[in-house]
């Protein structure tokens, strides 16, 4: 059973929804396949989304065009960048017709801003990654230039994939800023910044500190961190070697093209062999040029793997947040315990712990009982406040673990589905390459035999 390499859009499952209404799975799939066939170049996906939490419409998102622009940047210097056209269509349930509801242009940096916002506001979610900023894992024919049309085209597809991933996520799809990203052209950046999300962001230093000093993180997160490190390392290795394999394969095919030229020149002096040489040469040319399409298809496969390479970082971000919260909790608990002990010591008069006050008391005489009472009272207030905080931190921590883990399970299933399909599509590509090879060489063999 042969399948064409699937578009990532086609794989997206409908988001599971709140009781407001659930689109029929069959309808959704029908709409997806129709659109996918009709819009091979652009690609599209059908997803549901709430609009201001009131009504549900089936919508399609596509990043349909890319355009080179020039403008002035923050320091008033001329720069060239690429802008991408995002079109949103709503699908009327009854007749399946789609109507263009919004269309606006965004550049890569705005996508980055959206993603950073989502990362900060939904730390328990494995936030879909963006396609790479600069071309990596290139082999000799591919350009490392950001302006190269092939790179831009693959990036366009990657950005569309990103939007579709967000739109099909049960929680992220409801975000207002995401909705505005698709619908509000002007002032969107200001709107995002006004939310003040940058203030909520955890400092990298704080997170690093927590990672080192946390004592009791949930084991599952520790394992997940190791998994994501391994995933990153093995997939990047795979992509590097794949690029080298592609390079070599390119070389093998292209050198055969030289046969074509020489056969043709040689055929000029041959009476009997001439025709055979000439037509065999033609087949060599066909063989040599067939590699271009083959490797272009493989680039799409590489992009599918790359997405999960970048997902590894998203996984680590969730783990880091957990470690941070856990460390915070442990520190708060430690603080509370030490305050309780201090209080106890003051009350009973025993000094078990070292404190400056204790030392000065020993040296300079005991303090007055009223002072001691005052201090105990302060500590008791702090302790009661601390206990409340600890309780809420505990609850927050447990909520976080529960929600994060739910999303991680969702992610795992998505990853297994997507990667399995990618691997199968790789096999399909190889099969197609082999069939072409058999055909060309069978034709060439016939020409040689007739010489």
């Amino acid at each position: 059973m042969e399948q064409a390499p699937p578009d990532p859009e086609r794989q997206l499952q409908p988001a599971s929804l709140e009781p407001l209404g659930r689109p029929d799975d069959d309808d959704l799939e029908a709409a997806v396949s129709e659109e996918a066939e009709g819009a091979q170049e652009e690609g599209s996906g059908v997803d549901t989304m709430t609009e201001n939490n009131f009504s549900l419409k089936k919508i399609e998102i596509s990043v349909s065009e890319a355009e080179k622009r020039t403008g002035r940047n923050a320091v008033n210097m001329q720069e060239t960048y690429t802008a991408y056209l995002i079109e949103t269509r709503s699908v009327e349930h009854a007749d399946g017709q789609s109507v263009l509801t919004d269309s606006l242009w965004r550049r890569y940096s705005e996508f980055e801003l959206l993603r950073n916002y989502l990362l900060v506001c939904y730390p328990h979610i494995v936030v879909p990654p963006l396609p790479e900023k600069r071309a990596e894992f290139v082999w000799h024919k591919l350009s490392a230039d950001n302006m190269d049309p092939d790179f831009v085209e693959r990036r366009r597809i990657g950005l569309e994939n990103f939007l579709l991933r967000v739109a099909s996520h049960p929680i992220l799809c409801r975000d207002k800023i995401f909705y505005l990203f698709l619908t509000q052209e002007g002032n969107w950046k200001e709107t995002v910044n006004e939310t003040g999300f940058q203030l909520k962001a955890d400092s990298r230093l704080k997170a690093l500190n927590a990672t080192f000093r946390v004592k009791n993180p949930d084991k599952r997160f520790t394992e997940l961190k190791h998994y994501s490190d391994e995933l990153q390392s093995v997939v990047s290795h795979l992509l590097r070697v794949r690029a080298r394999v592609a390079d070599r394969l390119y070389g093998v095919y292209k050198v055969h093209g030289n046969y074509g030229r020489v056969f043709s020149e040689w055929s000029a002096i041959e009476k009997e062999m001439g025709d055979g040489l000439q037509s065999a040469g033609h087949h060599m040319d066909v063989y040599a040029s067939s590699i271009d399409d083959i490797l272009e298809d493989e680039e799409h496969y590489a992009d599918q793997l790359k997405e999960y390479l970048f997902y590894a970082e998203a996984l680590r971000a969730v783990c880091r947040k957990h470690e941070l919260m856990q460390y915070d909790l442990e520190t708060a608990a430690q603080d509370l315990a030490s305050k309780k002990q201090q209080c106890e010591e003051l009350a009973t008069g025993t000094v078990r712990t070292f404190s400056l006050k204790g030392m000065t008391t020993k040296l300079f005489g005991q303090e007055a009982p009223e002072q001691r009472e005052a201090r105990i009272k302060v500590l008791e207030e702090q302790i009661s406040e601390g206990e409340q905080q600890l309780k809420s931190k505990n609850t927050e921590g447990r909520e976080f673990v529960k929600n994060a883990w739910a999303d991680i399970e969702r992610f795992k299933e998505q990853k297994n589905r997507d990667l399995k399909e990618a691997l199968i599509s790789y096999a399909v590509m190889q099969i197609s390459m082999c069939r072409k090879g058999i055909q060309v060489w069978t034709n060439a063999k016939e020409c040689f035999s007739k010489m």
Binding site: V234, V241, R248, W266, L423, A427, Q430, M451
Partner: protein, 387 residues
């Protein structure tokens, strides 16, 4: 017609006469079988050299025995080639492998070099054996049958070094004249040889380049497969397809190796031999031109009355015969050579195409079986879900 004007040995047995007439069916009536094998290194105080074992099996009457085993070194082959060229200046003597390959040689005698040379020497002797005229050459017989000391003493006979050198100098001086009066068909032949040499050189280089690129492709694929196995170690649900892909890649690597070995046996030696044939052909052309030049210079001398007219006329008569024989010998051998060339080239490329078809068929089978296993599994899982 008998083109053996310069061979001291006339065919005597009926079997070998049949051989002479039937050029195409040489292999059916073969009565001389030669193999070259077992390279051995010999170290003396002066030098180190390799000898090759040569086994000859024959039913020919003029041979004292039906089986011979001798050892020969490259120098001996060079000697044989020289003698054949001397005896048959306008026959196309098969090429010898190069003396040494300057590019990329670390030691003079690495295993690949010796093996390639051995195969080429085997081809050389068999081509001579298959040639209707050369096969009866006396020096050839001595080469195949004489013991080492016998060969040494045989080599010392014949025109001395100095006289041979003298001939060469005169030949070079007069070769240009021969070119001017070259008959039309030899002009065409020369043109063919020039273009052919060019093209076969390119083909040889392209083929070597393909071999090199395939090796590098193989090396990368060898590294590529195992990474999938490594990945499968950290994945539960994906372990099966990942390992499947790794094993497909491994099988493709085996197929690549087979394709490479096919290329190196069927194509590379053939192309290289014909590159060397290019030089051989140019040499034959030159010698023909020299023989013609000799005649032309005598004719010129007669025209300008440089010497005794009667003597010159006699000489010219002999030389005219010589030229005609040389030209006819070359014409016949040329046709034979061209036919062989076409057949060899056609075979080589057809084999190459066959190797490639086979390679892709193998890879196709392996990937298709992987795909089936994955989609079958998929269907199994689906039906389990529905239950």
């Amino acid at each position: 017609t008998d083109i053996n004007s310069f061979s001291p040995m006339m065919p005597t047995s009926p079997l070998s006469m049949i051989n002479q007439i039937k050029f195409e069916d040489e292999s059916d009536l073969k009565d001389l079988f030669i193999t070259v094998d077992e390279p051995e290194s010999h170290v003396t105080t002066i030098e180190t050299f390799i000898t090759y074992r040569i086994i000859t099996k024959t039913s020919r009457g003029e041979f004292d025995s039906s089986e011979f085993e001798v050892r020969r070194r490259y120098q001996d082959f060079l000697w044989l080639k020289g003698k054949l060229e001397e005896a048959h200046p306008t026959l196309i003597i098969p090429p010898l492998p190069e003396k040494f390959i300057v590019k990329g040689m670390v030691e003079r005698f690495n295993d690949d070099f010796i093996e390639t040379r051995r195969k080429a020497l085997h081809k050389f002797l068999n081509r001579i054996a298959d040639h209707p005229t050369l096969t009866f050459n006396e020096d050839f017989k001595v080469f195949l049958t004489a013991q080492a000391w016998e060969l040494s003493s045989h080599k010392k006979q014949g025109p001395g070094l100095l006289s041979r050198m003298g001939q060469t100098v005169r030949a070079v001086a007069s070769s240009l004249r021969g070119v001017k009066n070259r008959p039309e068909d030899f002009m065409e032949m020369n043109h063919f040889i020039e273009i052919f040499s060019q093209k076969i050189n390119l083909i040889d280089k392209i083929s070597q380049r393909i071999y090199k690129e395939e090796r590098e492709y193989f090396d990368e694929m060898k590294e590529y497969g195992p990474i999938h196995v490594l990945w499968s170690a950290s994945e539960e649900d994906l372990a099966d397809p990942l390992k499947g892909i790794a094993s497909c890649i491994e099988e493709c690597c085996t197929a690549i190796e087979k394709r490479m070995s096919g290329l190196s046996e069927a194509v590379l030696p053939v192309m290289h031999e014909y590159v060397l044939y290019g030089d051989v052909l140019m040499g034959v052309m030159k010698r023909r031109d020299q023989i013609q030049a000799e005649l032309d210079s005598r004719v010129e001398a007669l025209t300008y009355r440089k010497a005794d007219a009667d003597l010159l006329t006699e000489e010219i008569g002999k030389l005219e015969d010589k030229v005609e024989c040389a030209n006819n010998a070359l014409r016949a051998d040329w046709e034979r050579w061209k036919q062989n060339m076409q057949s060899d080239i056609k075979s080589a490329f057809a084999d190459m195409a066959e190797e490639n078809v086979h390679y892709y068929e193998q890879c196709l089978a392996t990937w298709e079986s992987f795909l089936t296993s994955q989609t079958d599994l998929h269907l199994e899982e689906d039906s389990e879900d529905r239950l």
